[in-house]
């Protein structure tokens, strides 16, 4: 039995991506670090609904899923215990970026800037797997 999470890689324009929404984490682990918005699956929701809900809670954006990037399942990827993440490429369809819930803040960051940032967990790998950096 495992925890399951969804993470949202929200890009400004799927056809010509230049910016992504990053949060700063309010709580441990990786408190204060940049990260993708995301969180744990609830008992009666699908993983896609979880992704859209967590994106909204943490960034105030309404998003749609564009496609799946991958499933991240290294046994040691989360210091809280075994957590498998499904990560989706998303695009905004409403709202404007404001951090809330588990996000101390949220903002658009250029993909050029992401290359030089340390991100929480294995979130930087997700950018590589999506072909964005």
């Amino acid at each position: 039995m495992y925890r399951i999470a969804a993470d949202a890689l929200i890009i400004d324009n799927p056809d010509a991506p230049s910016q992504v929404v990053l949060i700063t984490r309010k709580n441990p682990p990786y408190q204060g670090n940049f990260a993708l918005p995301g969180g744990f699956l609830e008992p009666r929701e699908t993983i896609e609904k979880c992704c859209i809900r967590e994106a909204k809670e943490e960034t105030s954006l309404d998003v749609e899923i564009v496609c799946i990037i991958g499933v991240y399942s290294d046994p040691d990827r989360d210091p809280r215990g075994r957590t498998v993440s499904a990560t989706y490429l998303c695009k905004p369809v409403g709202g404007s970026v404001e951090g809330s819930d588990d996000a101390a803040s949220a903002r658009w960051v250029s993909l050029d800037e992401v290359k030089d940032l340390d991100l929480a967990f294995d979130h930087k790998q997700m950018f590589h797997d999506a072909g964005l950096i």
Copy 2:
């Protein structure tokens, strides 16, 4: 906390797919039904290793992952309890098809034939999502 499984959609040729490996299920639920090979994630393996291991155990084929098809997480998709499946398109790289372990049998089936079959769980949806039927 959830169970996590990997399922393998093994096609003969990723560039021109015409056949897929189906098993018949040895055990409930869906005992005797056609299904994709697959099974539950073990504590210290990644989901990709799980997919490759289960494909080998149930079909005797060595496979490589081509790409992810999707994550299947409807809360009622498995009568045994909440189970989230990551499903991968795979290609054979060694061995020949022979059912074993949880598979009563395994064989190559044409994609034309799959259209008319009842498959266990939501496995038919995976063919649609992969653009194969």
